[in-house]
Symmetry: C2
Subunit: 211 residues, 2 copies
């Protein structure tokens, strides 16, 4: 077993530490956030930090890096109020990863990746046509993490599009059937296989599988 | 394609909506958070919301549900300052899931799951012996998400234990070799297989794999 204490972590080269710390907490969600400024210039960016915030009302959150440089995603949803969350499938991982290149604001990542802009039900922000699960969100709030200047962004889920055949009877989504990928750290992509689902747990009751 | 607008989402039965909204944002990280109160009673709880906050200094975050009932994990790290994050492997998913049963504060989930308490380098909070990746954290701060009362908890990563053979030359961890699981929603567990790693992206450069 390898052991790092905080002093050992601090002595690591910056990029090495970034890979280690980004990967040590496990697989992350794989999503593309789509947005558009008021002049119609679209933006698309890969995020590995989308988390569940609440179901009633439906909300999600994600972590945005400090605003030390212009962040097009942030600029766009602050200016217009809207963004989309589009799930990354295994067949678009290369294109999704290329959205991390830093293009100028006036160049859309859609035009550089082969991913297709799509508009649904008059929603302002663009969806990714190739994504199997698409979520339309309104920007609600942000919390500045004062320890390092990152932001937690809160979005309200207002539109949800997904393939009918991945929805189980109780509302749970069979993500393996949707070809959904997971992210490892800054640059790794994985494809999960479902192991099991378990029942709601009560003290001292035997666990049951519900698949 | 199935479509839900916000009105349709709000009309769903509460549990159905919870499954749908918890799963629609993709796979989540699979970790057990270990803690201990000042009287020595340990606690262990499954979390699917651990995210990366920063590498310099190394920090992680996770979402805690509203404090409308006693939350032992919260009580313990507020009282003592420490908690551990222990990665869930495919061989302990049943035991990990059972920690979601609501046992009284004076009953340790370690005693009900077969997971083994482990103490390393005099750290106050218990690790899970069966976890391949173990992280010792100090509680730093919390942010109340006023939209629904959830909390974002920030922890400083101060100790990190992991198998030597999963560490790549550049610090990136090969989670597939660590048997790390991912979580789907509230009750599903999956095992990812690595697809690829890509190089740092520059505008208009061809993407390369770095595996």
């Amino acid at each position: 077993m390898k052991y790092f204490n905080i002093e050992a972590l601090q002595k690591l080269p910056s990029r090495h530490r970034a890979h280690l710390i980004n990967t040590c907490t496990g697989y992350k969600s794989a999503n593309l956030i789509g947005s558009k400024d008021k002049n119609g210039i679209t933006n698309l960016a890969v995020f590995n930090s989308v988390v569940h915030i609440g179901s009633n009302p439906p909300m999600l959150g994600f972590i945005l890096r400090p605003l030390t440089v212009r962040r097009d995603t942030y600029h766009n949803f602050k200016e217009t109020g809207f963004f989309t969350v589009n799930q990354i499938t295994s067949s678009i991982i290369k294109a999704a990863h290329h959205t991390s290149a830093s293009y100028n604001h006036d160049i859309s990542e859609f035009s550089k990746t082969g991913l297709t802009e799509m508009y649904l039900d008059d929603f302002f922000a663009p969806y990714v046509a190739q994504s199997n699960i698409k979520i339309g969100c309104s920007y609600i709030n942000e919390y500045t993490i004062k320890e390092n200047g990152c932001l937690l962004i809160i979005g309200a889920i207002e539109h949800l599009y997904l393939p009918e055949n991945i929805i189980q009877d109780d509302g749970w989504l069979h993500l393996e059937k949707a070809d959904t990928a997971a992210i490892i750290g800054l640059d790794g992509y994985a494809l999960p296989k479902l192991l099991n689902r378990f029942n709601y747990q009560q003290p001292d009751e035997l666990i049951k599988t519900i698949l």
